[in-house]
Amino acid sequence: GTNSEPAAQASGSDAAAAGGKATKIVVGTGTGFPQVCFIDENGKLTGFDVELLRKIDELLPQYEFEFQTMDFGNLLLSLETDKIDLVAHVMEKNPEREEKYAFNSEPYAHWRNRIVVAKDNDSIQSLDDLQGKKVLTSATSAEAQILENYNKENNKKINIVYQSGQANDTVSQVVSGRVDATIAADFVLPIIDPQSQLKQTGPELTSDDVLYVLRKDDADEKALSDAIDGAITDLKEDGTLSALSTEWLGSDVTGDHAE
């Protein structure tokens, strides 16, 4: 990564630039997820997802990555409408998404969703305990999918509260008791809650690979997907991936696969 432009289209790699004719790939990501994809105090787009892609870009001279940021809720729509070629936002693979989108096959992290409640709340252990309670989540997220699925199977028991993400108020909503819980991945929680006012509780609700999302039935996308898989395997092998994970997420969350 060469540049520290304030965001939208930060170009990807020197390697590709040197290599001449590289295919331009527009990577869609966000700015609202600290440590994963966000803008640092120098105005530079960075984070685990971003830096990993920059590394992958270095390994793939045939591609040149360009980042485009947007609201999380618009990422998949943008992918679908060709605005971007790839979604990188620690996206978890789930059956609903698989139906409509393609994923690469080599995961670069692992996502274990659990219920998150305020530190002093011991009354909640499972989704069943959330019946009649308010649970915060953001529209289009995989966590929303879990809750909606639960409600579908149990005839609307959990009271889902959607947030747009603009106010960045998850922690305060849970701590203040406006909502009773939220759902988050193990490695996400310390990031959004550096002061540890929340805790995870109950069993893993889902356990899925974190992958890049691509368009379905698209040969170019398939080629890209395969190339990325190769690069990720390389980065795993030389330890770069786990180093990145430790650097940004505090621990290595890249090791295992979904059961």
Binding site: A8, T31, I39, Q68, M70, D71, N74, T81, K83, D169
Partner: protein
């Protein structure tokens, strides 16, 4: 809500937000240009009552004034390229800024069209007749008599329009344009000092709109200096005298009542 309130952050955020002022102003200027062109195109068929076109501009006006700009942004950013693909034009990868300026431009165009029509119509009919009676051609009458007067009438409405546009740009970040509001959010996320960022943000918007308003007011004074009377009677309830077209439009607020 993160950290406790600290006024110091407000000041430290100001320069950082100002970094992106250029983007905000670019959107405003670009949309304004687009909007005025669109406004003329839409206003003309309505003023000259051209069949079909007039109905079309009616629909245009109704749509852009009838739906929130936020939704218009989505529809244009995602929908327009799909439609254009049908006619073989691929705009999918055009920069976001293009769509943002286009949408704000078309949105502004709807209000500009009404501004143009209302100001031209507010010019006393007798002015045109006097011009015709003196043997001017319609073009001469329009450019030398109507337009200069309509400009003066339009300024206050234009001022509202520009400021509404400025404020509306605060929604462009939803499509990922890193303008001031988007920047404010990233600053808030980074530091957890949300309220301070938004106060700083509001402050900057306030200064800009205030400056714009004053500049346009000066322009209005200049353009309507012929209407200045020496004896301005001050009073809560104004005595309306016939003949001054300023009174016709002075209170019309074709602009928008709220935020988005």
């Amino acid at each position: 809500m993160g950290a406790p309130f600290d006024i110091g952050y407000v000041f430290s955020f100001l320069p950082k937000l100002l970094d992106t002022l250029g983007v905000t102003l670019l959107i405003v200027a670009g949309s304004l240009l687009t909007g005025i062109v669109a406004g003329f195109l839409v206003a003309l068929p309505r003023m000259y009552k051209i069949p079909v076109l007039r109905t079309l501009s009616g629909v245009y006006l109704s749509f852009f004034r009838g739906t929130p700009i936020l939704i218009q942004l989505f529809l244009f950013y995602y929908g327009l390229p799909e439609i254009l693909k049908l006619v073989g034009l691929d705009l999918t990868r055009a920069p976001v800024m293009f769509f943002v300026i286009l949408t704000y431009g078309l949105h502004t165009g709807a209000y500009a069209a009404e501004m143009i029509r209302a100001s031209v119509e507010a010019v006393d009919r007798g002015q045109v007749e006097a011009a015709y009676a003196a043997g001017m051609t319609p073009y001469q009458a329009f450019s030398r008599i109507i337009l200069p007067q309509a400009l003066g009438i339009a300024v206050p409405v234009f001022s509202n329009l520009v400021i509404a546009l400025l404020k509306d740009t605060s929604l462009a970040f939803t499509l990922g344009v890193m303008e001031m509001t988007g920047k404010a959010q990233t600053l808030g996320t980074l530091t957890q000092h949300f309220i301070e960022t938004y106060i700083a943000l509001a402050f900057i918007y306030l200064i800009i709109s205030f400056t714009l308003e004053k500049m346009l007011l000066a322009a209005e004074r200049r353009l309507t200096r012929h209407e200045n009377r020496e004896d301005k009677r001050e009073s809560i309830f104004r005595l309306k005298k016939r003949g001054s077209y300023r009174t016709v439009l002075a209170d019309i607020n074709i602009g928008k009542g709220g935020g988005a």
